[in-house]
């Protein structure tokens, strides 16, 4: 059940260039699934900011978010501290339907701020006995986060746009190189990357997670629609019917 809550920040720290990890206390934490997001209100901002759930600690009843400073809102969010209160709508959106899938091996493909939700997904898959291979792309070495955490879950490959770490180039270059075997791929990142990955992995089963500017974040305003491949005159709402979609379900623009 979706609600609005005022939640306490347990910890707030920088983990890479302009990138922050925030742990938030919430009795709803155990209900949050990989792929879902929270919608955060910020003082002096009319619209909330959607941020993915990057992890859950059911014992401690906390969830983790990871964000990068992009504009005014995320800059504001970077100034919060442990002990501060966050105004959050949660849980928002759909999740990766891994409970309904037969998976032995999964390929994780993430780019930049698309990486956080995939960490929670990869961790859950690993706990379910799935073999996980992760291919992650960042702009440069300074922006890389969670590399060791992904390595604990399985083979992890990193690409940087400027070549300052790992493979120089894109996640698609690594996929070409390592030619991984998998039953399903899961991808999240900037739309150009999602397009490239969906194209490269055409014919495979997979799920992607999309971003769009949002109004309500709960499905009432029609701000965040994406057209369907089956019939481009029909659309789905990324905030409510997504952000997770089957890779061949929607038209990426």
């Amino acid at each position: 059940m979706i609600t609005k809550q005022l939640l306490k920040i347990n910890s707030h720290m920088q983990i890479a260039e302009d990138t922050f990890e925030v742990v938030v206390q919430s009795p709803l934490a155990k209900e949050l699934k990989p792929g879902q997001f929270v919608h955060i209100a910020l003082p002096n901002h009319m619209l909330r900011r959607p941020v993915s759930i990057a992890g859950v600690d059911t014992q401690a009843e906390t969830f983790t978010i990871i964000f990068k400073i992009f504009g005014e809102g995320t800059r504001e969010l970077s100034k919060y501290q442990a002990g501060d209160t966050l105004d959050v709508i949660l849980p928002c959106g759909t999740y990766y339907p891994i409970d309904q899938l037969e998976i032995d091996q999964a390929l994780i493909v993430g780019g930049g701020i698309g990486v956080p939700p995939l960490y929670y997904l990869a961790k859950t898959l690993k706990e379910n006995g799935v073999k996980v291979t992760s291919v992650l792309g960042f702009q440069s070495k300074d922006q890389i986060f969670y590399e060791e955490k992904f390595q604990v879950l399985g083979d992890t490959y990193i690409a940087t746009n400027d070549g300052s770490y790992g493979t120089k180039g894109f996640v698609t270059d690594i996929i070409d190189e390592i030619n991984p075997t998998f039953d399903y791929f899961f991808s999240c990142g900037p739309t150009p990357m999602l397009k490239a990955v969906s194209h490269q992995l055409e014919g495979y089963n997979g799920y992607i997670s999309l971003e769009e500017r949002m109004g309500c974040g709960v499905g009432t305003c029609y701000a965040c629609v994406v057209p369907l491949k089956q019939d481009p005159k029909q659309s789905k709402k990324i905030c409510k019917d997504g952000p997770v979609f089957s890779a061949n379900e929607v038209i990426l623009s």
């Binding site: 609600t3 009319m46 619209l47 499905g219 701000a223 005159k233 659309s235």
Partner: protein, 302 residues
């Protein structure tokens, strides 16, 4: 404290209702609170056929507000009547349907279709949407077109008709007079103001449609001024809206001459905006020396 307010076809237990396009058809926000708390509900626009709307991005944040260019996306009036409106039956609050179109014929078609629904109490005639290529705001900025479409819809409708005015005009009183002459039972004002925001990095407008409608606190002074001017000239009932966030904002609209109010953009920031405002109203009205909502209507005029 008596919060009731009476308008044609609408006996409201309190003056606060969500604005069209900012509340869908109620389902999502019903997860946050009991919709029976609301004075009324204005649902998303209905057109003759399903509309896909504009390309994305469709929204942008501004100082104290937002731009939107949704483009009247909706499943079409028949589907709305069959699949969306019945959900609201279980709530003890009147529903107002929002009627949109590109031609007078389409407005009349939607109006006639809605005559067959028992789930609504009134129509809001949207002649002020700035985000569609044809119709919409054209009807709302040309006084003779506004008069014509109001007259035709009023002829066709079994329900009271509230005409939603566009603020994108130089003389709001003239528009109000024209639609009042054509038989409007009430006015709803204001819709959004046409605006634009340019992305510095991309060197192009953020919204794919380029322009969008500005809403939120940024437009409140304009809404207050326009309602005040219309109230000086006419006795017609007014549903006021534009930037309402708090109970104090509601009182300001009542003082300007609104008989009831609608809350739009604030729902996005705070899904509980409407019930919280309703909850705050009694003590706030008392604080400013009023004993009922109707007591405050129009009392801001000198």
């Amino acid at each position: 404290m008596n919060l009731t307010t009476r308008l044609p076809g609408l006996m409201l237990k309190n003056p606060v209702m969500p604005a069209s396009g900012c509340f869908g058809f109620g389902k999502e926000y019903s997860q946050f609170y009991d919709l029976s708390e609301l004075g009324a509900i204005i649902v998303k626009a209905a057109t003759g056929e399903a509309r896909f709307g504009n390309p994305t991005p469709r929204v942008a944040e501004t100082s104290s507000g937002m731009l939107n260019a949704i483009g009247l996306q909706n499943p079409g009036v028949e589907k709305i009547i069959e699949e969306e409106l019945p959900f609201l039956r279980s709530y003890d609050t009147p529903v107002i349907a929002n009627v949109a179109g590109s031609t007078v014929e389409e407005y009349v078609k939607v109006t006639k279709a809605l005559n067959h629904s028992k789930d609504i109490a009134a129509l809001e005639l949207n002649i002020s949407c700035p985000n569609v290529k044809e119709g919409g705001v054209q009807f709302g900025t040309d006084p003779s077109l506004a008069k014509e479409v109001t007259y035709q819809v009023k002829e066709a409708s079994d329900y009271p008709v509230y005409v939603k005015l566009s603020p994108n005009v130089s003389n709001i009183v003239e528009m109000a007079k024209e639609v009042a002459d054509a038989g409007a039972d009430g006015l709803s004002m204001i819709n959004t103001l046409t605006g634009m925001q340019i992305n510095l990095k991309q060197r192009k407008p953020i919204i794919a449609n380029q322009t969008g409608g500005l809403s939120g606190p940024a437009i409140k002074p304009i809404a207050i001024r326009m309602i005040y001017e219309v109230r000086q000239a006419l006795d017609i009932p007014i549903i006021g809206m534009g930037g309402i966030i708090t109970a104090e904002d509601v009182l300001e609209f009542l003082l300007a001459g609104a008989n009831a109010v609608a809350v739009g953009t604030a729902n996005f920031q705070n899904p509980l905006a409407c019930p919280e405002i309703i909850n705050d109203l009694p003590s706030m009205l008392k604080q400013y020396g009023f004993y009922s909502v109707e007591d405050a209507i129009g009392k801001g005029h000198v």
